[in-house]
């Protein structure tokens, strides 16, 4: 950074923009610790009662359970489909490889609403209705690109000579995979898996078309709550818990992988 009249102004500007980025999160979390009946920031008094109110709300608790199960199974599915595919994409040369990879990653970029609607029509046309597996598969489709991208990046950067060495030393392909490739791929899998989990856990545009009252997820429940009753500190309490969890995950991610790499859409 250079020292001239512009530098100070530049830093000030950045501080304001970064403040803008943090503001609604700080507010959503801060509201949870208020004693007011309506969400207010800053709160007039401090209290933890909204956490209790949120925890005793059966609608939110069951939606939270649904979301956790759905996100966990989505993560398992994305790794089951994404890991073999990324191995194949690195080991084998495919015709039109960049285009192929772009297509495989495309669920990431297309508007979620479109996929949600088309999945709804698809399940309807197939006579499946709003089956729960439809929701699960839809989440797997939108989350699998994260696993694919992180494992591809890690596998490409990996020293493939290690695999050859293992083979030369007499390991069969499975042993090589199990004891050499997989441990080295772990950072990519952990990062991709966590992002797949978060993608499923936070999703609204796809879930809103595919959930029923019984299968509804936490963000969809919160959203209909906000649409109907405006803002309530209960949502703040849920936000506080969720933000705390997610930021903890982010720190873990940074340790195992380096967050900048996964989220930089411009990075190749």
């Amino acid at each position: 950074m250079r020292r001239d009249p512009g530098a100070l102004a530049l830093r000030l500007y950045c501080g304001l923009v970064l403040g803008f980025l943090s503001l609604p999160i700080v507010v959503a979390v801060g509201v949870a610790f208020g004693s007011d009946k309506i969400a207010r920031f800053p709160p007039t008094g401090l209290s933890l009662r909204w956490f209790g109110v949120a925890l005793s709300n059966a609608t939110f608790v069951s939606a939270l359970g649904n979301s956790v199960i759905l996100a966990a199974l989505t993560t398992v599915l994305t790794i089951a489909f994404g890991l073999p595919a990324s191995l194949a994409l690195v080991r084998q040369k495919f015709p039109a490889q960049p285009a192929l990879e772009a297509v495989l990653l495309s669920p990431l970029s297309l508007p979620g609403v479109l996929f949600g609607v088309s999945m709804l029509f698809f399940l309807g046309a197939g006579g499946f209705g709003l089956a729960w597996w439809g929701l699960l598969v839809a989440h797997a489709v939108i989350a699998v690109p994260y696993v694919l991208r992180t494992t591809l990046a890690v596998y490409r950067a990996m020293d493939r000579g290690l695999e050859e060495t293992a083979m030369v030393l007499g390991a069969n392909p499975w042993q090589t995979f199990r004891h050499v490739t997989l441990p080295l791929l772990r950072p990519g899998l952990v990062a991709g898996g966590l992002f797949a989990f978060l993608t499923s856990f936070d999703n609204v545009p796809v879930s809103i078309f595919l959930t029923t009252a019984r299968t509804t997820t936490l963000p969809v429940t919160i959203m209909s709550y906000l649409v109907n009753q405006d803002f309530d500190p209960i949502v703040g309490a849920i936000s506080a818990v969720q933000v705390a969890l997610v930021l903890a995950l982010l720190v873990v991610l940074d340790r195992v992988y380096g967050i900048a790499q996964i989220t930089s859409f411009g990075g190749q």
Partner: protein, 276 residues
Amino acid sequence: MTGVLCLIPLLVLLLAFFVLPFGVMLYQSFFLSLLQSPAGSSPTLANYAKAFGDFFYLRVLLQTLALGAAVTGLALVLGYPVAYVLARTRTRWRQLLIFLVISPLVVSIVIRSYGWMVLLGRVGTVNTVLQALGLVEKPLPLMYNWFGVVVALTHVLLPFMILTLTSVIEGIPESLEDTAAVLGAGWWQRFRHVVFPLSMEGVGAGITLVFMLTIGSFVSVLLLGGSDTLVLPLLIYQQVILLNNNFAAALGMSLLAISVVLLYAQARVFRVRGAA
């Protein structure tokens, strides 16, 4: 050979549950719904004619594109300086900056919208502060209108712009700026004639990405918008609720077409960069 076999499960998953659903949507967009034509209908372009011929729906399309342009422009103006600082920071502050830019991305959009609702409501933080300072007498209408939508969406998409720009600006050698400085260029001239022109690919990629994500956004518009802030994703949602599935399908295909064109344009921008 095993390599190809390993790719097949994912290909099948995406063909069956990603490509095929869009195929169903495309197919349905060419038929009238049972509500419009109870006896069934033959293939028709009526849904598309309605989407592009009716002034009401055309206005929704234009509003969607205008919203995309507004949010993209704001994200560029707000994000560029941050991206520059992030790209040029080598000190321990770098980790903190990255964290501040990325953390909003992992917080649910519903929660972020909720934060904005608390801030922008009639008795929200912003209005309370403005009134306490005596700047306004009556609370300003800051949400359930375009203002709230633009603020919330800019917040959602700004990190994407910053990260895209950062990755490109990092590739511009700092020595070029030093040389310009030695030759007497002030900060504005260095930005105007050195950094900005060299970051045009990042600007192009960031603009396409943010525009595409904005015109497909749904949650922020639903929560912070009002009756007049109708955009394509919301219109599609409403039509599905009204069981106008076939018309929703035509609207969906139109939005999909725009998104695919933008996606292709974005890929082209990166190909240029890879070749250079």
